[in-house]
């Protein structure tokens, strides 16, 4: 059976140029790892696909189907990270080979492909899954065959698996700081919660509602859900008009996003004029491409990463990403989180001195990454990342302007006490 093997070795030499910092780091790493290359029998006691020169990992995202739109950036980021790691000499002296599988936007297919990666290909780690549903579908497979999954998307929390490292924000990290900010900076008193009808928006809105009503003593004046793919928002917009909330808190996803922002603007609610404050937890730079910057200008988004972040790490990352994937690429929050996956795995493997899943897992908590484009991140005991929460204001050109950033790293709390 044919397998799509895109090894980094086949990569043209011209592509192996990276930003200054990383290149410097790369040459130093190269020197050290060539000297100390531990024997395979030592670093791989559980029959993973590790040879003297290579180690095999999997990338599992949707290349086809409705989710392909969203997952494409993650695939690119993961490939970029793997290529950069290889250019620095790989992991424990071994080049990373990756096998890319297509989840086809279909949860059962995700489970099937995950099983193939773990059982047949014996990969040392998998970077992938995007929607909660696909993660839920592959989770039992990873637990059964003891694999390691690096999951990039911000998600609803309520989960903590020994076999998953969650590189995106869980719900409280994304929501709590942003609502505090709205209450303090924008003086918001009333909120209208709306989202697509599935678990992530509902859970997020549940947390938001508890925080708004019970912790801050403010009011939620409406809560609304739409079937995935819904394209008619005029009635909701009327409801919003009638309830006159200070803030629309939106978690609409997919094609509905485009329809929502266009109809909002057409209805005379212009976010750029500040007619109303809208904060979304579902729109990244990727989504703005479809929505159109002119339609969403002035909306706020709560994310941990924006392409416009001003720091040297991000500068190098954006440059490398555009060199590899084209000048027109945009980088959203999830894409950056996906980029962290291979790096976090590399750090954990090297700290453990082994590719064995159990040892990598044991070594993971406490791993720090100072080179992350979003800044400094650290793996928590609960397998989520400590990271800063940020709020960006959408600009006409499709980028965000960062208007707020928490001073400290926020602790991930997938089972937030008092919010369940």
């Amino acid at each position: 059976m044919a397998i799509q093997d895109k090894t980094a070795k086949a990569m043209p030499a011209g592509k192996r140029r990276f930003g200054g910092l990383l290149a410097l780091a790369a040459s130093m790493m190269l020197a050290t790892t060539v000297v100390a290359k531990p024997p395979t029998a030592e670093v791989n006691t559980t029959n993973l696909a590790v040879t003297d020169d290579t180690v095999r990992v999997g990338i599992l995202h949707s290349v086809t189907g409705t989710m392909a739109i969203s997952e494409a950036g993650s695939v690119q980021a993961e490939i970029l990270a793997i290529e950069q790691i290889n250019a620095q000499g790989g992991v424990l002296g071994r080049k990373i080979e990756y096998i890319q599988e297509d989840g086809a936007s279909d949860w059962p297919t995700f489970a099937e492909r995950a099983r193939k990666l773990l059982r047949q290909d014996r990969v040392a780690a998998v970077f992938g899954a995007w929607t909660s549903a696909s993660r839920k579908a592959v989770l039992p497979v990873f637990e059964q065959f003891n694999g390691m999954l690096y999951y990039p998307t911000f998600y609803e929390g309520l989960e903590q698996s020994p076999n998953v490292i969650y590189t995106g924000q869980e719900a409280t990290q994304q929501i709590l700081a942003s609502i505090d900010w709205l209450a303090q900076e924008k003086g918001a008193k009333t909120f209208y919660l709306m989202g697509s009808d599935y678990i992530w928006p509902r859970t997020s809105n549940k947390i938001a509602r508890i925080h708004i009503e019970e912790k801050l003593g403010l009011r939620v004046v409406g809560e609304d859900y739409f079937p995935l793919g819904h394209t008619n928002f005029n009635s909701t917009i009327n409801r919003i008009r009638l309830r006159r909330p200070d803030v629309i808190f939106a978690s609409v996803v997919g094609g509905s996003n485009v329809a929502f922002y266009r109809q909002l603007k057409a209805a005379g609610i212009d976010l750029s004029r500040g007619d109303i404050t809208l904060l979304t937890i579902s729109v990244t730079e990727d989504e703005i491409l479809g929505i159109g910057g002119e339609n969403i200008e002035g909306a706020y988004a709560s994310m941990k990463y924006f392409q416009s972040l001003d720091n040297p790490n991000n500068e190098a990352f954006v440059k490398a990403f555009k060199e590899r994937w084209g000048e027109n690429s945009v980088i959203g929050d999830v894409t950056q989180a996906a980029y962290l996956g291979p790096w976090l795995w590399k750090e954990a493997v090297e700290r453990a001195g082994s590719f064995d899943i159990d040892k990598v897992r044991a070594a993971s908590p406490g791993i720090e990454l100072t080179t992350a484009p979003e800044g400094y991140v650290k793996v928590h005991e609960n397998h989520h990342l400590w990271s800063r929460a940020r709020i960006g204001r959408a600009l006409r050109n499709g980028q965000f302007e960062v208007v707020h950033e928490t001073a400290d790293l926020m602790e991930p709390d997938p089972f937030p006490a008092g919010y369940q």
Partner: protein, 308 residues
Amino acid sequence: MFSEYSATELGSILAMQGFAGLILFAVFVLMALGLAIIFGQMGVINMAHGEFMILGAYVTYLTSNLFANHFPDLFGSYFFFAMAFAFIATALLGALVEWGMIRFLYHRPLDTLLATWGLSLILQQTYRSLFGAREVGVVIPDWLMGSYRITDFIEIPINGIFVMILAIVVTFIVYLLMFRSSWGRQVRAVVQNRPMAGAVGINTARVDRLTFALGCGIAGVAGSAFTMIGSTGPTSGQLYIVDTFLVVVFGGAASLLGTVASAFTISQSQSALEFFIGGSMAKVLTLMFVVIILMFRPQGLFTLKVRR
């Protein structure tokens, strides 16, 4: 639930809400007209109808790029050209599909359903290969994106008015074509008695091709208009297909007036339900309502009793 609002507010909301229903009505009419012609007049189930609409949307996207790059002065009016191009492109594709596929399948409605579903998959993948998996952002001229402020509370979206006018115009043209032109008489003759129509010298094959092309062309115009309110991506078309079919079937397949009436009924109930109970349950209730009514009146709500 209304006690906290003043009478003027409630009046305004009623007006706005009525308007929201009318916009949805116009959207449904545009979606369903093309299908009603194809299904009602030819008995063909075109599951690729949504993909034809999206073709119209992509043509609009290309036209907007063309104007932005080469005729920036005319950008404000590109939308009219886009709709014309969309009509031509989808009608041509429709004629091609009729020639290559549909004409072999007349009188096998279930088979047209499966074959056109296959076609829709192929079109989706073609769009993905050509335009990428991501939705494309169609830039709408500014004059189409604003709103008229009537009172403090009542604002009428211009694109809504545009869609409504378009729906009226398209319906009127279709009416003229089908009921006031010799071509329309030919179409109806073919529907009623194909061999006889052929015998009196009507080129039935040509009538079929043109009818199918016209239905697809209207889908293209609809898709073009929907770039103002919806998303344009390879799979966006699938979102429309069930709604569209229900509108057509609910109206009674053979009657254009029925299609319009059913679009009105469904849009108003859905729009009102959305206002009161939210989007998700509104959708479920509307669909159920339609399905249940159809069980009692399988011939559709607005058809006359005929002798079988």
